[in-house]
Subunit: 316 residues, 2 copies
């Protein structure tokens, strides 16, 4: 299997630039940076120490998710690393290992690290630019949702936010059971559903984006780009919430905030024409509504204001 990875890389590291296949005459590109103490802590209050592997994995996963959100398949990553001179070499090797492991284990089978750049700075900073291919199909934009469309979610919601709260808490991570530790692991090593983006495009998704800032904020982006209203269903939100209740109880937190406001799971929010058989991995969580006269694009839950208080009315 290993030989099949990186099939799109026509010229890899060693020259001034790499050359990547773009079989349909287009390439999809996104860029994203992770900075120490902004996007991760080297040492968390819960006692967990972020590994180079975590940082490499997350840098790859976040970028692969952006390609997924267009309905595309990743072909290549290039990486620019800024490191303080005292960074241990082993930490950097772990980072490279995390990058390639995320590519492989998340299923980006044609993708490889095609090049990079290394420099010094006062803080660790990892920038990844990712390329992808649409294989001859259309890109799925944020702006295509139509009234009557089904709104669907692929992947988890709120798990990474719950994981962040656990990492930031003073409860030792080591003292927790595997389910709760799994939430913290998801914060450090997100699991974007990379098969779901191309599947959504193949199924005729009208709009899509990845949830990087939470269902409410990203739902609003989709609503604004499409000129529609997004209405969420209380039932599916409850089910998303229920799996987070043990963490919420431990931390005296409200799991609804994580479901509606948590982003770093990198799930996909997509819309499909009414009657579409949803592709594997997607669950219906709402619908798209026409804007009323003088109404602005927004997100509601069963027609009511979508702040956490609004949801209360529907809690079982």
């Amino acid at each position: 299997m290993e030989g099949t990875y990186g099939a799109a890389t026509l010229l890899g590291p060693g020259d001034d630039a790499a050359v990547i296949a773009a079989p349909d005459g287009r390439t999809v590109i996104s860029i994203d940076t992770q900075v120490q103490d902004q996007d991760f802590r080297l040492q968390w209050p819960s006692g967990y120490k972020t590994t180079g592997f975590d940082v490499g994995w997350k840098a790859a996963a976040q970028n692969l998710s952006d390609i997924n959100a267009m309905g595309a398949t990743a072909t290549s990553l290039v990486v620019s690393l800024t490191l303080p001179p005292e960074t241990p070499v082993g930490w950097v090797e772990d980072l490279a290992d995390g990058l390639t492991s995320a590519i492989r284990e998340l299923g980006a089978a044609n993708c490889s690290v095609a090049g990079g750049d290394l420099g010094r700075g006062r803080e660790i900073s990892v920038t990844v630019a990712v390329l992808g291919t649409l294989d001859g199909g259309p890109a799925v934009l944020r702006s295509g949702a139509k009234p009557g469309d089904i709104l669907a979610l692929a992947g988890t919601a709120g798990h990474a936010a719950a994981g962040l709260a656990l990492l930031e808490s003073s409860v030792p991570l080591d003292s927790l059971g595997p389910d709760l530790r799994g939430l913290a692991e998801l914060q450090c090593r997100p699991q974007p559903p990379l098969a779901a983006g191309p599947a959504a495009r193949a199924a005729g998704a009208t709009a899509m984006l990845d949830i990087s800032d939470g269902m409410l904020r990203d739902g609003l982006r989709l609503a604004a780009a499409s000129g529609v209203a997004v209405d969420l269903l209380p039932g599916p939100l409850e089910r998303l919430k229920d799996v987070l209740l043990p963490a919420a109880e431990l931390l005296h937190a409200d799991a609804r905030d994580w479901v509606l406001g948590g982003g770093e799971d990198h799930g996909l929010l997509a819309t499909f024409p009414s009657g579409t058989l949803l592709p594997p991995g997607f669950t219906a969580i709402g619908s798209i509504q026409a804007l009323g006269m003088n109404e602005r694009p927004g997100v509601t839950i069963a027609g009511r204001s979508a702040d956490t208080g609004g949801w209360d009315h529907f809690a079982h």
Copy 2:
């Protein structure tokens, strides 16, 4: 003319990724980061203050040079900015202006800024990933130089290094004449010869790279990748040195060190088959020699050791 910029950008900012044309089914990609106090100072000993415009220009120019060095033409930049919260908004606007001005004024006519990402950090860091097209031709690698080839230079050599020395000196920049100030400006806003890369490819260049770390170090890279020896001609080196003599005299420096060791002009070092009519912008500065028995790839000046002392033998 303005409407013709960015012709390659099929989908620009606003979605999770951009879509860029790759007309021959391949895309060239490189990535590079500039970090405050490593790659530039906000305030130099000479009194000069680096502007946002300078940083944006240099970030674009360095990356455009990597595409040029492959014989390719740039199609798109994506930018990831890390900024301390206290960075003035005007400085960031200047940076965006510097990026687009460099693209336009350096002649990257099909290129535009297709997307980006903004985050916080303790120091200013600007990462650019650049895409390019080879328009159906081969990429010019470092590894193709053959014994008997002509070695040629496009662009300046040592000007940016002299400019750096002027910026770092205690002589007020304001007190200098326009020629010396021009060297400092070239350090802050490099002028890679973007027409020269594709022209070299069209003329049959066998190997090429951009001079980012100096003629000796980058010449050695070309020699090592190609398995050859690089021999420089004293005459052309003297002429490159002579224009730097006023700066060298002012700073009691050796202009030869700048010519042989200075990199940030982002000129091109290319090899062509013997008898090739060199494309516009290129000057012959040496030749490629076969390695002798047990000889390792290296750089010489008229067959002698290429350290600065070696050159002394040939100084007029």
